[in-house]
């Protein structure tokens, strides 16, 4: 098991290195960059001082170097103008648009994104596990149809529409707050109990909105998997042993049906981040989705690159968690080398 873990983490690190290179080259694919745009503008105005400043910035950020070297400097693997200062050293780069370090631009946003998506993930699992199980066990019954109907409704309704509806009724009948992820007075404030409560209250609507579509498809998948497993001979064996009806489902087939369920964590995370851009705009959530959109538009490439990389890390970590959970759940994976 420890060997498996070590192996898995090592693979992840290698993947991460490859991904970081890909990300860097992809964001540099569009011609030009933030600074050259700015320099062109300044030169048109003939302001020598500004041009000199821009040239200085170009050198400062090694934009005059070849791309592969820029990448290594960004990574922190070779010294730049300020010595070793890159991702490996904890320097996430500079946002030209905001004229601030990326770490300060994103700061809280990142952790709020993780929070929103984690809550959505929990919501998806908490809702789809029981509903999917019931739908499979009562396949063809009235419960199955009701669950399927609600699920398809969730899939078909545009998220932002659902967001607006929920906001309206949430505010009107439950007094839920509108927009943002916390009350204004807590923004930028240090962590406190009140801030926490505020965040929780603001989380309810985004969690439901972002989670609905995922829940619907997850229910369908769990139902299909479980139906497959329920027909397997080992379920008949369990029945022939005299195992009761509830345990017969939960102990044996449900465990097998959980495999794809767990394996999905890694896939869900990135789709949650990119899929929730529109919702974030509608609900004015300070998450990474809108920030990425803005950074890409203004060719603020360190900012965009870092966001992409961060999402990749989320995905890879999700995959790692999936794999570890799978190994715990399924002995065939755990003892892959030991069998036959």
């Amino acid at each position: 098991m420890i060997r498996y873990l070590a192996n898995r983490v090592l693979t992840m690190l290698i993947t991460l290195a490859v991904v970081s290179a890909l990300v860097f080259f992809i964001i540099n694919l569009p011609p030009g960059d933030f600074l050259s745009n700015q320099i062109a503008e300044l030169q048109a105005q003939g302001e020598a001082a500004s041009v000199a400043k821009a040239e200085f910035l170009r050198a400062q950020y090694s934009l005059d170097e070849p791309l592969w070297k820029q990448y290594l400097i960004w990574l922190g693997a070779v010294p730049g103008p300020d010595g070793y200062s890159g991702l490996l050293q904890g320097d996430w780069g500079w946002s030209f648009e905001f004229d601030q370090p990326v770490s300060e631009v994103l700061g809280e946003t990142m952790w709020l994104t993780v929070l929103v998506n984690f809550a959505a993930l929990l919501f998806i699992y908490a809702v789809s596990l029981p509903l999917g199980t019931i739908a499979a066990v009562r396949a063809g019954g009235i419960t199955d149809y009701v669950v399927a109907f609600v699920g398809y409704l969730g899939l078909a309704t545009p998220n932002f529409l659902l967001a607006l509806i929920l906001l309206y009724y949430g505010q009107r009948y439950l007094g839920l707050p509108i927009g943002g992820l916390m009350d204004e007075q807590f923004e930028g404030a240090p962590f406190s109990w009140d801030k926490f409560k505020s965040v929780l209250a603001h989380l309810i609507v985004p969690t439901i909105v972002i989670g609905t579509a995922g829940t619907a498809s997850m229910i369908r998948r769990l139902r299909a998997n479980l139906l497959d497993e329920l027909g397997k001979p080992y379920v008949t064996t369990a029945k022939a042993k005299g195992v009761g009806p509830v345990k017969r489902v939960t102990k044996y087939p449900l465990r097998a049906a959980l495999n794809p369920f767990v394996a999905d964590i890694g896939n869900l995370l990135p789709s949650l981040v990119s899929g929730s851009v529109l919702v974030s705009v509608v609900l004015s959530l300070p998450t990474l989705g809108p920030a990425l959109l803005a950074a890409l538009r203004s060719q603020d490439h360190y900012l965009a690159g870092f966001i992409l990389l961060f999402v990749s890390v989320l995905t890879l970590v999700g995959m790692l968690i999936s794999d570890i959970l799978l190994a715990i759940l399924d002995p065939r994976i755990r003892f892959g080398g030991r069998g036959q």
């Binding site: 192996n7 090592l10 693979t11 064996t237 005299g242 009761g244 044996y252 002995p331 065939r332 030991r338």
Partner: protein, 596 residues
Amino acid sequence: MNETILHVSDLGVAFGKGENKNEVVKGVSFAIPAGKTLALVGESGSGKSVTCRTIMGLLAGNASVTRGRIDYRCHLGDGGTEDLLTVSQRRMRDIRGDGIAMIFQEPMSSLSPFHTIGAQVSEMLALHSTDDGRTHRDRCIEAFEGVGFADPARTFDAYPFELSGGMRQRAMIAMATICVPNLLIADEPTTALDVTTQALILDLLQKRQEETGMSVLLVTHDLGVVANVADYVTVMRQGEVMESGPARDLLMTPRHPYLKRLIAAAPAIDTDRAHPPASQDDLIVRIENASKTYRSKGRGLLGLGSERIYALREVNMTVPRGGTVALVGESGSGKSTLARLVMRDETPDAGTRITYDMGDGPFTGDELKGNALMRFREDVQIVFQDPYSSLSPRMTIQDILAEPLKVHKSCDRSEMRDRSVAMMKRVGLLPEHLSRYPHAFSGGQRQRIAIARALALEPKLLICDEPTSALDVSVQAQVLELLDSLREEFGLSYLFISHDLAVVSHLADEIAVMCRGAVVEQAPAKVLFEAPVHPYTKALMAAAPDPHPDHRLDLNAISLGAGAKPEAWPEPYRYDRRDPLPLREIDARHFVRMEA
């Protein structure tokens, strides 16, 4: 007369609802005496498995009981019985596993892959036993010892996928008998196993029966198995009982014509019918030094620690033109690997030399590339084991038969049609059925279609990979007869693969017995059957159950060669798997792997 433990009377079971209701069990009655074995015999579709599942209350949702009763006597002596069709769900759960236990055909999928063997067996105790949970582990380990596990404590913590098929079936038996049921229902418990394993499992079942005094309801299609273990027999066909009675009487003097036919069709080694060896002057294939090694998947990033697996090692063999060479062995013996090498479906190891002569000059396997390989594919065709999965369910029979012609020959539609019609007639099917899909045919008919497809290109060499092992015995005999007559008519040569010596005894001129990738004995058919030398050959012959009640399985002969373990064979045949003994010619064309 013994007390009756289970009495099934006038049982009817139907599938479907309303107008589509289709009765598959039609008024079946039989009784199982305490401590005895009743065999329920029949071919596929006879309703024997459905009957068993009805007893256990395991019917699928679309099935329903239409009539009859199943009287079960829980306690011997007190005279009270209860009807299993009307007892409460709660009571039924108590009976399952405790009073009536069941083992199934598929040991591979009947155990949950997520739980250890120990957890699954001790669950029986947790459900049905009143004693302290702390003793469960010990009782399980005791049970594992009882069914012949060498290291029962390790078995407790093992997962099913770590065990072989035979070992899993042993675990199933341990699980089913740990609560000492009154009745054990065994639904084709040995059908999925190799013959020598089957013999050992049947022996184990009988031992457990003697120890516990339980009754056994054994479902099987194999009269050889019946002759070995059953006290009473009930023969079923299409949902009805054909004949019932004591096993010996029925097998010796069958009255019903159906049972007579079954007994006649039961495969038995028949030395009188063995073909004489074909002349070695004109060979269609000569295999020299054929080996195939695989690398096991290693662990870690670089695949370190991978092992070499010898699927096939140093096989020498010839197939005479117009002859039939049979490869016989249990699963994992390398017989299918050799067939794939001959077909050039896989590339053999360096050093292997396979020479073909299809009639216009010899060539070797290594020369086969591009067009030459396409031409070669016309000459060598294969019939697969499973006619259910080897025919595409989305193609009509016409399309299936025409496809090889489309690939290899340029003939127009009407010619394809004519050839398909001719092939259908030749394999004994109606040409009118060409527009049907495979699901409309029975297993035997599908195998005829598969044979017709293989013959469409008029091949020279036909490889038959266990062509009858998925079929019922009576159908098996017909398919073998068809293959025999086709050989002469089309001038074919056969490379015939089987796990069953009895099946090949009607067809083969020469037989090679394989074990763990190596040929252990090779001889003309008559010689091999009349004077087998190697203990493994003897075990295979002894393990084939004979429907004659006086010809019981010779467990001593089986255990000497069983298990396909060269390390465990007696001298002078014993060898280490990495370093096999040489194959010695002890008589004219009779080779045995043994010490000089």
